[in-house]
Chain length 460, copies 2
């Protein structure tokens, strides 16, 4: 075992960590935590590992916030970025186009649900969502249904943190400080399979929990523009998982009530659940799909909002109609990011790649047994290459640990001692490793998680 | 002269342009325009020039949406990205840090106003603004002034297009389709120097137009969190320029009313006005500064929100207080983008670089004389390396051309024939070239603009 904690605790002597502390405000971080435990100063990365300056390594269990697919420092991705860099790093994307974007758009269209034909590029998941929301609003305005201005979102959903994206976020922790300024939308209770109020199982239910959504759609059909949700896995909620039948019901209800369907595949797209896109794999028919994170294999910021010909045509007219979609970001379709995106889609499409995930997914399931045996395991759940164990105080009542106890944060610290970069969501310890992780690494990862959780909870 | 229009019009034969038309929805573009004139398919770029596949070149007059500083394919920037790529393209920025971000944060802090000590990274100008708005709101919530939830913005301002950023945008064209869902803020009439209602001159006025802002601040002091504005140049409004005295008055009034000041230097920062940052150069004291565009010399998406120790300390507490700032983007502080950012700040700081801009700025002024002589010149205005000519129907009344006439778009098409990639804003033809442009290129650029404008307006 590497002497990780020693390396981590040496910060008083490490000038760079002191400079970090003086100048950087890290995202989603109580900076006072770093007065005790500084951030991990990562120097280089290779495959599934991050390395600090003392060459201690850490398995990137959560793919650097769910972005990395093929490991760090991948020769083909690196080369594609370098080749593009020698031609052109960037050019504006209004009035101009370029080969990397054209190729990537075509690959995205080919890999996604058949009715999705148009690609609008932006920079991150939040902007991909904002674009979908705005396109939906403007579509209804330009098709004589201007009252359709509200969005329905699920409790526990996450779609980004710019104010528009945050207005369809169903996790109070993210919203509460900004509630007064958020656009008002409609929150609906969605699936909660671990604590299913009907006492049913994901594998066999018929989404009996769909009722509130059905009601909301019927009642508000004249004012609702779209429903937005994360298909199959609600990531930030703690990798909450629900079955595709919910989505089938949703699409029927949305069709009946003339409501757009926005799937936020920012987290679940690009192979994570065992298929390239959830919506394509399950034969779904979204109006919009939002993509980011894995789109560049975790190398560069890029996002895309895919939509249908019908949406596009509502904006396509003489200039004087002013029906155009006025939205832009300076670095839209950045050629370097598109180059990485092209290799990403190529690697996912290569013969055998998706097939070869199956034994890994099976390995995640098998090795996860050790976590199922923990006396604090409320549920071990899995969707393809995403797995999670939700820790509870009481296995019978599923009573959670109080958030103030910071069980997850302590597991994170124990993980570092065991060469793991875990970052639990509340009391959910989860695994969303690079897709190239090998079975022996999966085993090591699950065992280290078991040890880390035990080390924290044995004393409680 | 290159045969640009021929190259542009060949699209029916160019398979890639057909693929573009089938799959891509370009930003801020009426896609039907491309049925007539396809986008320029740019293949490579070098220095101040973009090249198509037939090796026709186009001067990048607007620096690819105001991002490029040192020319395309700059050897030092390219090398820095390649070197970083060989170590690590990306790693998450929560719980982790890395040298490129630490170095860049320190350089930004050193180059900006003295009281700005903390850097929060994100991906684009919109997110940099959303972060500032959210930090301001949360600051007041956590310092017992929870009613301070409104923002004041200027008429004609632009701060991005995610819904939060759009809610402080003062240009109707960007807002009107989304008005129903935008958070409600306060628009104030700001400077309008070309049509000064007091009949004064920028060079000698005392910002007599400050009165409405003063009133708005005093009247709403209990509900206003911050004022946001673009210092000196309102970019998207058509490079509207106003003197720094307005900002001095603003800061006094904000201090008196306990209101934050947010300067959006996304467009004006990084040398554009002849200084690295407007706020630092003029001795201003903002609470927040938003940066993007030039931060990577126009190579990769990156943004930063800088703020003060006072703001930071209102969030710095025990975890259990839940005072942390909960906002994140997966690619925050992307190491490749930070590597480009570090070279950017180094190049700007090199001995003589800012000094050497002076003769170029003078050349822009001198060569701009030809545009001043146009019978349609309402005003030729300049702030450092940014210049603009606002075209009017009547020089005495300053009556604008109707927007439907698309004078600017026609000038754009004429520009292409003359090896220029211009992209006017409405009827404002503007110049914001890479800072490395040479005097002879400035002369060519201004002459080509003169010819393009004349070609369009002679017949009207």
């Amino acid at each position: 075992m590497a002497n990780a904690p020693q390396a981590v605790m040496n910060h008083k002597q490490d000038e760079d960590l002191i400079r970090d502390f003086h100048h950087i405000w890290h995202p989603c971080t109580q900076m006072k935590d770093h007065a005790e435990v500084p951030p991990l100063l990562v120097d280089r990365a290779e495959g599934v590992y991050l390395y600090d300056r003392e060459d201690n390594r850490y398995l990137d269990v959560i793919s650097s916030w769910w972005v990395n697919l093929f490991g760090h420092n991948h020769p083909r991705i690196n080369q594609s970025i370098k080749d593009q860099l020698d031609k052109m790093a960037h050019v504006m994307f209004a009035g101009v186009t370029h080969q990397p974007a054209i190729d990537l758009a075509e690959k995205l269209v080919n890999a996604s649900s058949p009715q999705l034909t148009k690609v609008f590029f932006s920079d991150n998941g939040s902007t991909a969502v904002e674009v979908a929301l705005k396109m939906s609003l403007q579509y209804w305005l330009q098709t004589e249904k201007p009252k359709k201005t509200k969005f329905i979102y699920l409790k526990d959903s996450y779609h980004g943190e710019t104010l528009g994206a945050l207005s369809v976020c169903g996790i109070n922790l993210f919203r509460e400080k900004f509630e007064q300024v958020l656009p008002q939308n409609l929150e609906v209770q969605g699936p909660d399979c671990m604590r299913c109020p009907f006492g049913l199982k994901r594998e066999s239910c018929q989404a009996e929990c769909f009722e509130p959504m059905e009601q909301a759609l019927v009642t508000n059909r004249n004012t609702v523009a779209a429903v937005i949700l994360e298909p199959l896995v609600q990531g930030a909620a703690g990798m909450k998982m629900y079955p595709p039948v919910y989505l089938k019901k949703l699409e029927e209800a949305c069709k009946a009530t003339e409501t757009h369907v926005i799937y936020d595949e920012v987290a679940v797209g690009f192979g994570r659940t065992g298929s390239v896109f959830v919506s394509e794999h399950h034969g779904l028919n979204p109006t919009f799909v939002c993509l980011s994170k894995g789109i560049t294999s975790g190398y560069l910021p890029l996002a895309a909002t895919l939509t249908t010909e019908e949406i596009y045509q509502a904006f396509y007219d003489e200039y004087e109609s002013f029906k155009l979609f006025i939205h832009s970001h300076s670095y839209s379709a950045n050629p370097l990011a598109c180059a990485a995106g092209n290799v990403t889609l190529d690697l996912l499409a290569e013969a055998g790649f998706m097939e070869n995930l199956k034994p890994k997914i099976e390995s995640m399931r098998e090795q996860g047994d050790i976590l199922r045996d923990l006396p604090w395991c409320g549920e071990f759940r899995q969707s393809g290459m995403i797995a999670a164990v939700e820790l509870v105080q009481n296995q019978k009542t599923l009573e959670p640990f109080p958030i103030e106890q910071r069980v997850g944060y302590q597991v994170f610290l124990e993980g570092l001692k065991r060469e793991m970069y875990l970052r639990p969501l509340g009391n959910v310890v989860y695994f969303i490793p690079p897709l190239v992780i090998e079975p022996d690494q999966i085993k090591t990862m699950m065992n280290a998680a078991y040890e880390s959780i035990s080390a924290v909870l044995k004393g409680i």
